[in-house]
């Protein structure tokens, strides 16, 4: 039995983290030089806070 099957809440957190990890670190780059400054650093920060908030919610639900 995998970790995922034993702990569904953990699996969801891992999946959410995986998703953001993929989006930020993998994928085609066409400009050759990704500048997050163009997209605004604050934007990334807000996105990651949203992610952490979601993971914390999952954890509370798992505990509750």
């Amino acid at each position: 039995m995998s970790v995922a099957e034993r702990r569904p809440a953990l699996a969801e957190q891992v999946t959410l983290l995986d998703l953001v990890d993929r989006v930020l670190n993998k994928g085609v780059v066409v400009t050759g030089d990704i500048t997050l400054a163009v997209a605004d650093v604050d934007l990334v920060y807000v996105g990651l806070r949203l992610l952490l908030a979601s993971a914390a919610t999952l954890e509370r639900e798992a505990a509750g």
Binding site: M1, S2, V3, A4, A11, V14, T15, L16, D18, L19, V20, R22, V23, L24, N25, K26, G27, V28, V29, V30, T31, G32, I34, T35, L36, V38, A39, L43, V44, V46, G47, L48, L50, L51
Partner: protein
């Protein structure tokens, strides 16, 4: 601003707010909104059900005008078409191997090294078996991504299940199916 989400082939449906822009033979899914990384990722994943081939673009590709987008993409058309061919009909399955660390006497360096070696060999065997069932694979230290035909995902996850049974010393975490990020390298 134009935000670039992915390149696609065989797109048969598109959610509201997104647009397809063609550069040569390549179709780009774009939006004029300002997504955060999570939203970007969810849009790319949603394309998996709507297109035959999805080549995800890394978050942060934004262009002032359609001409800027076309200029950036046009120099990479050949590579993009090749990558779309490669991932057509496929999804990515992620496999993370986590050794189930048995306690080892801290002072016994040889025992520690033996334990690490056994884990490493088991992980290599898992990768070898799974890679043989995939169209392509990439492996980092503990994570591996496998490019699997949609119709083979069931068989692939059964194979993961069998490997979990036969390797009690490893926890194997299987994620996906994902858009094939690991097979959408910089062009």
């Amino acid at each position: 601003m134009i935000h670039l989400y992915a390149f696609v082939r065989g797109l048969h449906d598109l959610e509201a707010g997104l647009e397809v822009r063609h550069v040569g033979n390549v179709a780009a899914v774009t939006g004029t909104n300002d997504p955060d990384p999570l939203q970007h990722g969810l849009v790319v994943e949603s394309l998996l059900d709507r297109a035959d081939a999805v080549l995800p673009v890394r978050f942060g590709e934004r262009f002032e005008t359609e001409d800027d987008l076309a200029t950036a993409v046009s120099t990479r058309l050949e590579a993009l078409e090749r990558q779309l061919d490669h991932v057509a009909g496929c999804v990515e399955v992620g496999v993370r191997i986590v050794p189930r660390r048995e306690p080892v006497d801290d002072d016994d360096g040889a025992a520690y090294m033996r334990a690490r070696l056994i884990e490493q060999r088991a992980a290599e065997e898992v990768h070898r078996v799974l890679a043989a069932q995939a169209r392509d694979s990439v492996q980092t230290s503990r994570d591996a991504g496998y490019l699997v035909a949609r119709s083979d995902v069931g068989a692939f996850s059964s194979a993961v299940g069998r490997l979990v049974e036969s390797h009690p010393a490893l926890d194997v975490l299987c994620t996906g199916p994902w858009a094939p990020y690991s097979f959408a390298g910089a062009t």
